[in-house]
Amino acid sequence: MILTILPVLIPFLTGVATLLAWNRRPVQRALSLLGAAGLLGAGLALLASVWRKGVQTLQVGSWPAPFGITFTADLFSAIMVVLPGLIALSVAVYSLGSMDPYRERFGYHPLLHIMLMGVCGAFLTGDIFNLYVWFEVMLIASFVLLTLGGERAQLEGGVKYVALNLMASALFLAGVGILYGVTGALNMTDIAQRLRGVEQPGLVIAIAFLFLVAFGIKAALFPLFFWLPASYHTPPVAVSALFAGLLTKVGVYALIRVFTMLFVQNPGYTHTLILVIAGLTMLIGVFGAVAQDDFRRILAFHSVSQVGYMIMGLGLFTPMALAGAIFFIIHHSIVKADLFLVSGLVLRLRGTHHLKKLGGLYQTCPALASLFLIPALSLAGLPPLSGFFAKLALVQAGLEAGQFAIVAVALGVSLLTLFSMMKIWNEVFWKPSLEESGPTPAGQAVWALWLPLGLLAALTTFLGLAAEPLFALSMRAAEQLIMR
């Protein structure tokens, strides 16, 4: 039982502890690492427990189900809860070598953990209004993390990020209000049951679209994604990696949750629309990426494009497709965080993210080149890396459902992704160096920069090699989602 709430409690306590250790940098760093490792441990323990014993629930304050707030961990939630621990641990280690003392002194560590608390809370709660609260916890922490440091680009990106996300929150709140007015319930299981008896299908669809727009902004779907490429490349790389690995996934999680649990009355209409949006998101994202010349901005646009694949799984709405989407979320969290961390190391070695000014890194730093190539090829979906199997499952599900157009888009976008990754490869690593190498990395804790890169690259390879058990896990999670 306690396991269900532990992924929320651990980041909370770590956040408090790091706040108490204000101005004591080594203590904060140690606590931060410990908290992230603990979160990963708790996530894995919860996953193991849910796998063995089935769905776990916790009635907060012992109030019985429809009245109190319920925490529910089904397999999908449990899988998602492992990701914050994993990404946080990588980022916390990476921060040891990259975060500047100024940002650390102004609360980087507490904010990191409060954000993780919001993310885990959103994954675990079974109450729609509580989901709103966790979203806000996550958002306010991410606002500060994004703008911490106060550079001009950060503030500009921050204004756009804040404005669009607050608008999404207002829509989400309106959706919750109407949903409560129609069903008189806040517990998601309860709402799902009561929605079956509602006699105004039009009203339910209208609520569904409020949620689609609200979560669509947070997940960066077409045409609501503009805040993402405007802001994700502005903060320090560790923060970018954290955001890219986790935040859009929370929006995707919420979309999958409400559109498999609550709004399944008319999938021929709602889910087909989601499928169209998925295709457009993939296409527009990848076209945006192809047009960019900045390492991190390319990656940010790919984040948008890849969200399309996850939503494609939701739009197809078969167990196989949802399993593919879940597999894809796991794969993409790891790979995208990894790629952002690689871009950080490139920045450290050469002092720029601009492709035109980079070059020759393959010669001077072959290890980094191979550590880039693994996640890059995984992102594009080359076997035997995890991206291949994630896309394979989605494509297969698309073919089974007879949705050939979306399959064609998915495959075409893969090709463009490969093209865009090869562009980075050619410009940053392969072409001869244009100038003398810029500032070499400062001596402090360089191992801390390499370790997470190696770990995440190994993980995407491992997930590719162990695709079968992971897919079985995703499949069971997907079946749970469809059954309920």
Partner: protein, 114 residues
């Protein structure tokens, strides 16, 4: 009463969206605040308006009898107001810093990250 509130809510949404579409940063903040208030009022109205029926159990009864006002929407709104307060306070400070940094409150000048 519902009809009046429906117009108030619609007006707030319209004003909020109009403000969001202006280029000025200050109007952006006002627009976001109006949207938040509109959502709060929407929850309030949809929770059914009822006068003179407090959700109290009489001393000689074991449960709620007859009509009573639903306290849940008010609890939700209270939470949303508190969250909105914090978030808007942050937004105002952010906008102030951004204005000092960029030297303009015209969103068209925020093109460095595009």
């Amino acid at each position: 009463m519902e009809t009046v509130l429906a117009f108030v809510i619609g007006g707030l949404y319209a004003a909020g969206l109009y403000m969001l579409m202006r280029r000025s940063l200050v109007k952006l903040v006002i627009g976001l605040a109006l949207l938040g208030q509109a959502s709060n009022l929407l929850i309030f109205t949809l929770g059914r308006l009822l006068r003179g029926h407090p959700p109290l159990i009489p001393p000689d009864a074991t449960g709620m009898m007859g009509l009573y006002a639903d306290p849940v929407p008010q609890a939700l709104i209270l939470t949303a107001i508190v969250i909105g307060f914090g978030v808007h306070a942050f937004t105002i400070i952010l906008v102030k810093r951004a204005y000092q940094m960029v030297g303009s409150d015209d969103l068209d000048d925020f093109r460095m990250t595009e």
